[in-house]
């Protein structure tokens, strides 16, 4: 029964993660700590496995499209993998209450970021409708599906800042078991001048490498229990594939609004755990 519930957790995390454009970690950790009453370090380890499953699953789908920018990804991974290892080591030393509080801040930021994105996409969609353009996807207009390698080059700005912030994203990933895309995508898109869709797919390549860097440390320190992690990983894998398929067929605007409220609730609940109230 426990294994089935863990599988279901992974399935929901993977599918909602793919629908909302998140790694599964932001859903897996609250469920494992609040419903299964697992220690946060264990939940983080399991979540990292889920992040790798999400990244690999998405890679299998996207690699034919050849959308991830390897050069940019590898350059930023120099900082991110280092950060992830530092984060994983710190997670073993620090008081779990601090992890709960940090996680609460991250989820709250996630809710805010999701709310802002939703508003921005709705504004873009209404502008498109007014101008007779029916396509609501901002990202798709920034992406040329018939990319030509010689033509498809862009000026990447602020590389030192990008790599530094990517290192921070790695530390957060190693500490809290999330992919860190919530930091990497805005950094690449807004700060470094990378097209949004390239930033998104490159971030997906990166979250797998980052999560593997810290995941191995969690695993070798014995913080990942295969009996817990395997049902979750299998669920995430199947859920991510199903979510990616559904994502192209439905509008996720309403779902995002619901999850903004869910994430606010999770942020409060995790803060209470951290404060011991």
């Amino acid at each position: 029964m426990t294994a089935f519930l863990l599988f279901l957790t992974g399935l929901l995390a993977g599918s909602f993660g793919a629908l909302l454009g998140l790694g599964g970690g932001i859903i897996v950790i609250p469920v494992l700590t609040m419903l299964f009453h697992l220690p946060i370090q264990t939940a983080v380890g399991v979540s990292l496995v889920g992040v790798v499953a999400t990244s690999t699953g998405a890679a299998i789908i996207h690699i034919r499209g050849g959308k991830a920018d390897l050069k940019l990804g590898m350059l930023m991974e120099l900082g991110t993998t280092l950060g992830a290892i530092i984060g994983a080591v710190i997670a073993g030393i620090v008081n779990p209450r601090i992890l709960y509080l940090l996680y609460s801040c991250l989820v709250a930021y996630n809710a805010y970021s999701m709310y802002r994105t939703n508003v921005r996409y709705e504004a873009a969609a209404s502008t498109d409708r007014a101008s007779g353009d029916e396509s609501p996807a901002v990202a798709d207009r920034l992406w040329d599906p018939e990319e030509n390698r010689d033509l498809f080059s862009y000026k990447v700005k602020n590389v030192p800042w990008g790599v530094s912030l990517s290192t921070l994203a790695g530390v957060i990933s190693g500490l809290l078991g999330v992919g860190g895309g919530i930091i990497k995508i805005p950094v690449m898109y807004l700060m470094m001048g990378v097209p949004l869709k390239v930033a998104t797919v490159t971030s997906n390549l990166m979250i797998g490498i980052t999560a593997a860097a810290s995941g191995f440390i969690y695993f070798l320190y014995g913080r990942i229990d295969a009996v817990v992690a395997v049902p979750v990983a299998l669920g995430v894998f199947i859920g991510a594939l199903a979510g990616a398929w559904v994502n192209t067929r439905i509008s996720t605007g309403a779902l995002k609004k619901i999850f903004v409220i869910v994430f606010i609730y999770i942020a409060i609940a995790m803060a209470r755990k951290g404060l011991g109230v």
């Binding site: 690699i63 120099l78 390698r149 000026k155 995941g215 695993f219 070798l220």
Partner: protein, 118 residues
């Protein structure tokens, strides 16, 4: 700084599918056998060592099979870095980015050995 767009090689997709497939089969088979054997609860699946895991998986023991599947899953992103390294080295002939990919690979490998220095 100008970065020309370089995508992952399609062959990498085939390798990833194969490796991820092996990992999923091991994890799923291990889980089914674990449940069929009446396994319940948690706390007995922590890593015990690579040689014990391999031996256990060869003997078709459920937990070592699941553990090996997990190790292989965690290894898939490392494969992608290795793929990038070879792509820059032989296909793109870009030594600078080959060196950067090697740097990422070294960080990953050092990270894997870190727990043995506790």
């Amino acid at each position: 700084m100008r970065i020309n767009f370089v995508s992952e090689h399609r062959m990498m997709g085939t390798v990833l599918r194969l490796v991820a497939g092996i990992s999923i089969i091991l994890m799923a088979a291990g889980m089914v056998m674990y449940l069929a054997g009446g396994g319940a609860g948690t706390g007995n699946g922590a890593f015990v060592g690579m040689s014990e895991t391999l031996a256990g998986a060869m003997a078709l023991e459920p937990v070592p099979m699941m553990t090996l599947g997990l190790v292989i899953l965690l290894f898939t992103p490392v494969l992608r870095v290795m793929g990038a390294l070879f792509s820059f080295l032989f296909a793109e002939k870009d030594p600078m980015y080959a060196l950067i990919s090697l740097g990422v690979l070294i960080i990953l490998v050092v990270g894997m050995f870190l727990p043995s220095f506790k």
